[in-house]
């Protein structure tokens, strides 16, 4: 390294230091600590931890509840990610055209993102209310949207989709604006229909954005907690069929004060997410189109 490069590297490091320190203190240390705690029967207030090896893992993995919660989480992701992406993409394409009131629509669709998640959940909770909810009143039905174990997970998933569409849409609009207009002009001259243009130009050229959204949303969906926590009462009969892994973690770590067991649950979730991310990264080369 020349002296200039050295000095540049030094300054560079200095400038990213706040981020590095932040990551170390706020992310890496807690992760290490969580993994450490998962091998202990934790005492109150972080005192008196007893090392118990893999006993927590044994208990967590042999518990029916864990697998049900993991399945619930995956089911939620199966609703939120595909629908959240497809609907957002369609909206983005529509709102990328020069139509009247475009920015008004963009604002409206982005609004759920600006609202506090707790407030969103409370409003939906009342919309879904079996007896007094707006939904059942308008539809003249008596559906127990959030208390019927068969459909409660779908109802929760719908809230997730509604909340995330705006955010995904903004990312898609950003991606769309990077596609050069020449392609569409050439396609027009060749007589390609709008639908054909969408599938042959927009979808492939947008694939890096799509991939980014899908990957981050999968992780986001797998760590879902607030929707179930806010919308469903502790005595809701459908709760066992809807509660996510993080909900279960909260229950054990904070309500029951069993931090070791809670830590084990999130370590397992971490491994699961790492595995999925690895598979996705491998698949990236095959499904993402780089021009």
């Amino acid at each position: 390294m020349t002296p200039t490069q050295k000095s540049e590297a030094k300054w560079g490091l200095l400038f990213v230091a706040p981020t590095i320190i932040g990551l170390l203190v706020l992310n890496l240390y807690p992760i290490a600590n969580t993994i450490y705690q998962s091998f202990f029967k934790t005492g109150d207030f972080g005192k008196g931890n007893i090392f118990i090896g893999l006993a927590n893992y044994q208990k967590v993995l042999s518990s029916q509840e864990t697998w049900q919660a993991l399945w619930n989480t995956v089911k939620y992701a199966l609703i939120e990610v595909p629908f959240g992406v497809v609907i957002a993409l369609l909206l983005a394409v529509l709102l990328n055209k020069k139509i009247g009131g475009r920015s008004v629509y963009r604002t409206i669709f982005f609004l759920p993102m600006v609202c506090a998640p707790a407030a969103v959940a409370m409003v939906w909770k009342w919309l879904y209310n079996t007896q007094f909810g707006l939904l059942n009143n308008v539809l003249h039905t008596k559906v127990a949207w959030i208390s019927d174990p068969k459909i409660a997970w779908i109802s929760i998933g719908i809230i997730g989709v509604w909340s995330i569409i705006g955010y995904n849409m903004v990312l898609f609009i950003g991606g769309l604006q990077e596609i050069p207009g020449d392609y569409y002009e050439a396609a027009d001259i060749d007589g390609a229909s709008g639908v054909r243009q969408f599938f042959s130009i927009t979808v492939p050229l947008l694939s890096p954005t799509t991939f980014f959204i899908v990957q981050t949303r999968i992780i986001g969906a797998l760590t879902i907690f607030d929707l179930m926590f806010m919308v469903m009462d502790k005595t809701n009969v459908a709760l066992p069929k809807v509660q996510s892994i993080v909900y279960l973690f909260y229950q054990y770590a904070f309500t029951n004060g069993n931090k070791g067991y809670g830590a084990t649950l999130v370590v397992i979730l971490l491994l699961f997410i790492m595995l999925l991310t690895w598979i996705l990264q491998r698949a990236e080369k095959k499904i993402v189109y780089h021009n």
């Binding site: 109150d44 209310n129 079996t130 007896q131 007094f132 009462d233 502790k234 005595t235 009969v237 309500t255």
Partner: protein, 436 residues
């Protein structure tokens, strides 16, 4: 650029000045601090308590800053503070968690202070509350208040469907009959005679269990008789009420209090800590309280000793083990708990007192609403302390959910389900205690 630099220089100077100015001006009286941080979780009580605290400030020169943190966050915050050694100076303790905090020496040992304090004599307070905040012979908190349970009913609904108002002589069978009549007559209006969820324990079904002679947690805190014949008989009575009450889905989604305040449930049971909510309700003129119903065990038609129980619980005023000035912290606690301010607390309608026999004024704190059912419970009913063990929440939550009482609540028509739930509950509690 220059302007920016000047601006940041000015900002830095301002900050430095703020730091020096902000440092505590030495306290007026004998205490080494100028301010105490107090944490509570009930906003309804803040105003009244601040009034009492301000009176203390006049004598001590120490400012009292009362912060309200909602119930869930209160405990998260306190636990994080306890782990990091940063707790508020003075704060509330509750039966769910007291044992854990006491065993870990996180609360100030009050023994020497109490011994030297003429204003406090522990025998004047409710024994259950004193015992609760005593661990290994050491007193860690002073009783702040006590609460009892009563039956709340909506007079307008009783009038509308032509049913007699509940009285203090009602048995649970009377409640069942009235609930049945109102639920039937009110079906077209969506009105239910009664509403109770599995989570209404202390303020609900626990009381019936004691009326019938069983105990959710036995006196030594080491067992339960919820699965006994008496426990099953009590929950069978509960089941018959559930058959004519609002369905569990409705109470879980809407909440019993909301149902009642929307005029859709004619009767619920509630604790004295909730009076303010109903007192300030839009239709509060229609609301009235009666004592909890009783179980006529000997069948003589009157309520005898041991036939009517109400749960009671009491918060404690505790101080942090590492508070900057333990003398000041104790002085404030003692001030909250002395006879004069226990009376004042009742008078202001904050809560009933932790001291025995000074709560009559509480009944007059709500003009236009007769809340004497809560104070009369002390003489005319037997009180049992809110059931607790070291890790109360573990079994308490499990009893409310599937595998516990949620099953019979979902399907109250089947007596076998309720009996099975009592057996499960026995098992759940015993397992939880075994793991404590």
């Amino acid at each position: 650029m220059r302007a920016k630099r000047l601006f940041s220089a000015a900002l830095a100077c301002g900050l430095a000045a703020g730091l020096t100015l902000g440092s505590p001006v030495s306290a007026a009286a004998e205490y080494s601090v100028s301010e105490l941080q107090v944490n509570i979780w009930d906003n309804n009580q803040r105003e009244g308590l601040q009034q009492i605290a301000d009176a203390w400030t006049e004598t001590s020169g120490v400012k009292v800053n009362i912060n309200v943190v909602d119930w869930d966050n209160y405990w998260t915050l306190l636990e994080a503070g306890a782990s990091g050694g940063q707790m508020p100076d003075v704060f509330w303790m509750h039966s769910n968690t007291a044992q854990m905090y006491m065993e870990n020496d996180l609360l100030l040992n009050l023994d020497d202070y109490i011994a030297a304090d003429d204003a406090i004599d522990l025998s004047n307070y409710y024994q259950g509350i004193v015992d609760l905040y005593n661990s290994g012979g050491v007193q860690y908190a002073l009783p702040k208040d006590h609460d009892t349970i009563a039956l709340l009913y909506n007079k307008a609904l009783f009038d509308k469907y032509g049913v007699e108002y509940p009285t203090d002589d009602w048995t649970w069978e009377d409640v069942q009959a009235a609930a049945a009549a109102i639920t039937e007559a009110g079906a077209s209006d969506g009105v239910y005679g009664y509403a109770i969820n599995t989570s209404n324990n202390q303020d609900g079904w626990y009381n019936i269990i004691y009326d019938y002679g069983a105990q959710v947690i036995t006196d030594d805190h080491k067992g339960t008789t919820i699965g006994s014949e008496e426990g099953k008989a009590a929950m069978e009575m509960m089941r018959q009420i559930l058959e004519v009450a609002a369905p569990q889905i409705t109470v879980a989604e809407t909440g019993t209090d909301s149902l009642f305040m929307s005029g859709l449930a004619a009767m619920i049971t509630q604790g004295s800590w909730m009076i303010n909510t109903f007192y300030k309700g839009e239709h509060s003129a229609d609301y009235a309280w009666a004592m909890l119903p009783y179980h006529d065990a000997n069948g003589n038609g009157t309520c005898d000793e041991g036939e009517r129980y109400s749960a009671y619980n009491g918060l404690g005023w505790a101080a942090s083990y590492n508070t900057a000035d333990p003398d000041a912290a104790y002085s404030l606690i003692s001030y909250f708990c002395n006879e004069e301010n226990q009376k004042k607390q009742a008078e202001l309608g904050v809560t009933m007192a932790g001291m025995i026999g000074v709560s009559e004024e509480f009944a007059n704190a709500f003009p236009g609403m007769d809340v004497s059912a809560f104070t009369r419970a002390e003489e005319e009913a037997s009180l049992f302390f809110r059931p607790y063990t070291r890790n109360t929440t573990i079994w308490e939550d499990a009893l409310q959910q599937a595998g516990g009482f949620l099953d019979p609540w979902q399907d109250p028509s089947d007596p076998a389900k309720m009996a099975a739930a009592c057996d499960n509950a026995q098992q759940i509690i015993e397992n939880a205690i075994a793991n404590e």
